[in-house]
């Protein structure tokens, strides 16, 4: 007899927990054994005893928290099945950022997939999402409203390049999250044939270097540092979103402020942030892709971790799919979450 899904995965204050394997997935508090889907700080936290993740995710955590972010670490290969306690576990690519993975758990003929954050569209900086057929699919819903439909990222990058050619004496500052989005945007610009140096805010240096050392080709990416103002006329500069309106921005001649995020789809949001060139480039599945993915997994049951849960749950129920929101707290603090006062603090302190 197949196990019930709740025998395989339950919710604890630390996060999703697999009792049969005695491990947590992306726990928000320190635990003895954590399986981490990807390196964004709301999913990958420091202080666990043992961490199991892809090599890239472990490297990202080491860059962010220092080499001693956990007592022990273990590297997993995408696609390689392993046994933990009485369950079988496999990491499958999620297409979200470098090293991102879904975690597939099987026991007694029931398969549960924890997708972490994911996207379905092509991204030259990471392995594409793999559809894993399953009984229970645990999905995010960051953009879980039918108004969120990301246009092709390439068109958005072309929009940026058109603006660069029209306002060739101004600096184009592109706000992008330092892990994933920044490198995604650089890679897209390179694919569109833009081969000038792309300047980086200090907060992006180490992660971008890590991407390059993992074989992602991003071209020349010098640091803004103390380069003279004249260097930046007509240049593209990438910085954390909070730096767009920070004093840091004053070093550039008459900057155009652009922001690469799925949130830019809603005009009022872009205007509130004072963005002049919104670029709808996301590392999350949009509404259509959330729905498509749920259908393609064939899951009879869907759990929604975080984001706009209500609309997605409503949609599942309309489709005859069992669904429930998990109302998980602590996710969505990085990546495409709204930048908080705290994020602004960090970047002001780190700006040089």
């Amino acid at each position: 007899m197949a196990l019930r899904s709740t025998d395989i995965l339950t919710q604890t204050p630390q996060g999703l927990y697999c009792p049969l394997g005695d491990f947590h997935i992306d726990p928000v508090r320190p635990v003895t054994r954590a399986l981490i889907t990807h390196g964004h700080s709301d999913h990958a936290r420091a202080g666990h005893a043992a961490v199991l993740a892809t090599r890239e995710t472990l490297r990202i955590m080491a860059v962010r928290y220092g080499e001693d972010f956990a007592d022990t670490t273990e590297e997993v290969e995408l696609g390689e099945p392993m046994r933990i306690g009485s369950v079988s576990v496999r990491f499958a690519p999620a297409g979200h950022v470098l090293g991102s993975a879904q975690i597939v758990i099987e026991a007694g003929g029931t398969r549960v997939v924890v997708s972490g954050d994911y996207k379905r569209t092509e991204d030259p900086t990471c392995t594409p999402f793999e559809v894993v057929p399953c009984d229970v699919f645990i999905t995010e819903a960051t953009f879980g409203l039918p108004v969120f439909r990301h246009p092709p990222a390439r068109e958005e990058v072309r929009k940026l390049l058109n603006s660069v050619s029209l306002f060739s004496e101004r600096t184009h500052m592109v706000g992008a999250y330092p892990l994933g989005k920044a490198q995604h945007v650089i890679a897209l610009l390179r694919e569109e044939g833009y081969d000038a140096p792309i300047y980086l805010h200090g907060a992006m240096e180490r992660l971008t270097y890590l991407y390059k050392s993992e074989g992602v080709s991003l071209g020349e990416t010098p640091l803004v540092g103390d380069l003279p103002r004249t260097e930046f006329a007509g240049a593209i500069v990438l910085c954390p979103p909070s730096s767009l309106q920070d004093r840091w921005s004053r070093r550039f001649p008459d900057p155009v402020s652009a922001f690469a995020s799925g949130w830019m789809r809603v005009r009022a949001r872009a205007r509130q942030k004072g963005v002049e060139l919104p670029l709808v480039i996301s590392d999350h599945a949009d509404w259509d892709d959330l729905c498509r993915t749920i259908r393609e997994t064939g899951a009879g049951e869907v759990w929604v971790t975080h984001g706009q849960e209500d609309a997605l749950v409503h949609w599942c129920l309309q489709q005859g799919i069992k669904a429930r929101p998990l109302h998980m707290l602590g996710y969505g603090d990085e990546g495409e979450a709204e930048d908080t006062a705290q994020a602004a603090e960090t970047s002001e302190a780190g700006a040089s």
């Binding site: 108004v147 029209l166 009022a268 205007r271 004072g274 259509d288």
Partner: protein, 571 residues
């Protein structure tokens, strides 16, 4: 349609005038006729078609999308056109699930992406019953930005921060002609303006203006400086009151077909006739008048605050017309009976103006009186107390004097050496900075908008109550100092706003200049300032010595007494 949509999308986010201009010129350069002409018409509000009501749009979208999801989305986005544009089902949704049961979202495969020209032409020829299907077809064919722009266009809610003047300036720049020349021709032209584009691009002759009531760019004044009085001879100049109203131009004339054309233009050349039907009917002459829009009740000019309640209304109701009767106080005549008078000296134009106004003899149009003076000292005295030299009860609506060379021609723009404004001294108050807010555009990295307060007696002793917000009046250097001050004295953050330290023993005093006060229920302090700006930064002054609310109350009481001298007078 896609190019136009991309332009609107970009304009909507762009705060800088010059950047808007660049975007517009670039669009006009790279877009063929007739689309660019229709775009120009859309931005100058010159398109004539019946718009679509929000109910129609909502009905269309609810046919296509689960109403629950639509409601959640609308709640999140907050704008009907945008929600509809975003949520409208994309064509690939049908093909990706051939075996799925039918769902509410469907989309007829796009046939042809409409051009802006096709949309505009169809809108003016489509009957009411066919309109919904037509719009649905377009929405199917367009992408998100296209749908958004279409919906903004057909609901007449374009609002991308482009004035008619700016759009015309862009057309002029396209061919290096003077924007005023385009302006003069403008109201005789019709969308899609192919002859205008041909002319500015050097491909065709200058279009003839057949408009019997064209707009003529207004002549503007410079502020007078103290040293000017030493340089100018008083007898070379004449003076008028400077009215605290809205500058308008009224033009009227007979079209070749015999029909009377009457138009009212804003100072930027926008045709605002629709907003002032009560004035339009008074325009019984052939010529062009320059003057000030005022609200006059029972022969008494009302304050600018009252005038504001008449402006920017979507619909002009009978109630509005009765409660806020528009009045035109004129001071110049630019043309009469087909004759351009702008090269004549001011005094000659004035003579003809006086004759014309007495002939029009309409209660809503009167002359702005001349202020006679023998010396600058005499004018200074008149300016200080307009009531003493015949302004009577209208004195409160006077914000100073206009000083004009008696021989000045009427020149568009702000030519040097002819017209000067000598504004009444502003009110000053010392207030304490309470909050700083980030600015926009060039100032987005600066805390450049400051909320300030004055002292009042609270339940627990003296407290500061906010009385206004100012974002100009300071130099770039002072802005940098103020920005640093806000950052270094922050005690609280609310998004883009920072609360700074303030109290009896700490805080920064700002000398705030303003033009007037009105009572306000929206402000905690009960007063609202007109045109406040930072006059001086009082680094030297302790916060405890800033002004109290009673100072403002006294200004308010004095103003009310002057505005309504006959009411509730204590004897």
């Amino acid at each position: 349609m896609n190019r136009f949509a991309a332009l609107l999308d970009r304009l909507a986010y762009e705060p800088r005038r010059n950047a808007k201009l660049r975007l517009l010129v670039d669009y006009f350069r790279h877009t063929p006729d007739p689309d660019r002409g229709y775009a120009l018409a859309a931005m100058t509000d010159a398109l004539m078609f019946q718009g679509a009501k929000p109910g129609l749009i909502r009905g269309l979208v609810e046919e296509r999308v689960d109403p629950v999801l639509f409601r959640m989305s609308y709640h999140y986005v907050g704008d009907l056109a945008e929600t509809t544009a975003l949520i409208w089902p994309a064509p690939q949704e049908v093909s990706s699930t051939p075996d799925a049961p039918p769902r509410p979202g469907h989309n007829n495969p796009p046939t042809h992406v409409p051009t802006l020209g096709e949309v505009v032409e169809a809108l003016s020829s489509t009957g009411k019953s066919e309109l919904p299907a037509r719009i649905a077809g377009w929405l199917d064919a367009l992408d998100e930005t296209g749908r958004w722009a279409l919906l903004k266009l057909i609901t007449r809610e374009l609002r991308v921060g482009v004035s008619a003047r700016l759009a015309k300036t862009a057309v002029a720049q396209l061919g290096g002609v003077d924007a005023d020349e385009v302006e003069l021709l403008w109201h005789g032209l019709e969308a899609p303006y192919e002859n205008l584009f041909a002319w500015v691009e050097g491909r065709g002759p200058k279009p003839e203006s057949k408009n019997p009531a064209p707009f003529r760019p207004p002549m503007l004044a410079h502020p007078i400086e103290d040293e000017d009085f030493g340089k100018f001879t008083a007898t070379d100049f004449v003076a008028e009151w400077k009215w605290d109203g809205i500058r308008l131009q009224a033009a009227a004339g007979r079209a070749p077909d015999g029909r009377m054309v009457r138009r009212i233009y804003s100072r930027t050349g926008d045709d605002v006739s629709r907003a002032f039907p009560d004035l339009v009917e008074a325009l019984d002459f052939d010529g062009a008048l320059d003057g000030e829009l005022l609200i006059v009740r029972d022969g008494l000019v009302q304050s600018f605050n009252v005038l504001q309640q008449r402006l920017n209304r979507k619909s002009v109701t009978a109630k509005l017309l009765t409660e806020f009767p528009a009045h035109f106080r004129v001071y110049d005549l630019l043309a009469e009976g087909g004759e351009d008078l702008r090269d004549l000296p001011f005094l000659q134009r004035r003579q003809r103006l006086e004759v014309l106004v007495s002939r029009i003899a309409h209660p809503r149009i009167d002359l702005s009186p001349m202020v006679s003076f023998a010396s600058w000292e005499a004018l200074a005295a008149a300016r200080a107390n307009p009531a003493s030299v015949g302004a009577g009860p209208d004195a409160e609506a006077i914000e100073g004097c206009m000083i004009k060379r008696a021989d000045s021609p009427y020149l568009p723009g702000r030519p040097k050496g002819y017209w000067y404004k000598w504004k009444r001294d502003p009110y000053l108050v010392d207030a304490v900075m309470m909050y700083g807010q980030r600015g926009h555009g060039k100032r987005s990295s600066f805390y450049s908008d400051y909320t300030f307060g004055v002292w009042r007696t609270g339940p627990e002793g003296d407290e500061l109550v906010p009385v206004g917000k100012a974002y100009h009046g300071f130099t770039d250097e002072e802005l940098a100092q103020l920005d640093r001050y806000v950052r270094n004295h922050t005690v609280n953050r609310f998004g883009p706003v920072r609360e700074v330290e303030y109290g009896k023993d700490r805080g920064l005093v700002l000398e705030v200049a303003f033009e007037g006060l009105q009572r306000s229920t929206r402000h905690k302090s009960g007063v609202a300032m007109r045109f406040p700006r930072i006059n001086r930064i009082r680094w030297d002054k302790p916060a405890a010595e800033a002004d109290r609310i009673e100072t403002l109350e006294r200004i308010l009481a004095r103003g009310e007494e002057e505005t309504y001298p006959l009411e509730d007078r204590e004897t």
